[in-house]
């Protein structure tokens, strides 16, 4: 299932997917463990590292939208849509609520359920939970893959 990760266009400091544990045409489950040496902790906040909301959002988007979107493309579910080296994902909207803080070294699990994938746009309901199963964040995410539509 982690085969899909080779298609992710992110590198090192901006790759926020460790593992995919479930993947189908209707949804995905994946996890990521926050590295304590991540670039954002030094300044957010000095002496008091807390994962920024934008990073939480990015983790949810990479697992919940990008992994599922790439799966839908490479598996050929949507006819007439293909991706190549020039393709990259773009987030088009998010509406997220945050319930709990995420600290360095925490493992978070993202569950995404597809609402629709049409005309190259994927919209999903995405949830993030911490290692205790508590809800960390929840929202509706949409995105497209640029340069992939024929």
């Amino acid at each position: 299932m982690n085969d899909i990760l080779k298609y992710l266009p992110y590198k090192s400091s901006f790759l926020f997917v460790d593992n995919i544990s479930a993947l189908s045409d209707d949804g995905v489950i994946g996890d990521y463990t926050l590295r304590s040496d991540a670039f954002f902790y030094e300044d957010h906040f000095p002496g008091n590292p807390v994962t920024p909301g934008v990073i939480i959002t990015e983790i949810m988007a990479q697992i919940g939208l990008v992994v599922l979107g790439i799966h839908l493309m490479v598996s050929g579910v949507q006819e007439g849509v293909v991706m190549d080296e020039g393709s990259f994902p773009l987030l088009t909207s998010t509406n997220v609520e945050f319930f709990k803080m995420v600290l360095p070294e925490e493992k978070v699990t993202v569950t995404s359920k597809k609402q629709y994938f049409r005309f190259g746009k994927l919209k999903c309901l995405v949830e993030m939970r911490n290692a205790d199963g508590q809800l960390v964040a929840k929202g509706v995410f949409s995105g497209i893959i640029k340069n992939a539509i024929k």
Partner: protein, 85 residues
């Protein structure tokens, strides 16, 4: 349903996606969804999905590509409605 009736219904479909209510009141067949109504291009997909529900039709990829202004939207919708009739 004639073009005028389709336009009236279409205004309801477009309303949640546009910030310019004055523009929406004054739309005509030449109004461009992105340039004039300032609609996020990614939301055109949602507009198409909402239009399908509103008019009880199915819009395919080729038809969707044409729907960039109000007149084209009405063309596509009226063609699909008439197919059903």
């Amino acid at each position: 349903m004639d073009r005028k009736e389709i336009l009236t219904e279409l205004k309801k479909v477009l309303a949640p996606y546009t910030e310019s209510k004055e523009m929406l009141d004054g739309i005509n067949e030449d109004t461009d969804l992105i340039k004039d109504l300032k609609i996020n291009s990614a939301n055109l997909v949602d507009i198409i999905i909402d239009a399908e529900a509103q008019y009880n039709i199915e819009i395919d990829f080729d038809a969707a590509e044409k729907m960039y202004n109000v007149g084209n939207c009405i063309d596509v919708i009226s063609e699909k409605i008439n197919k059903l009739a």
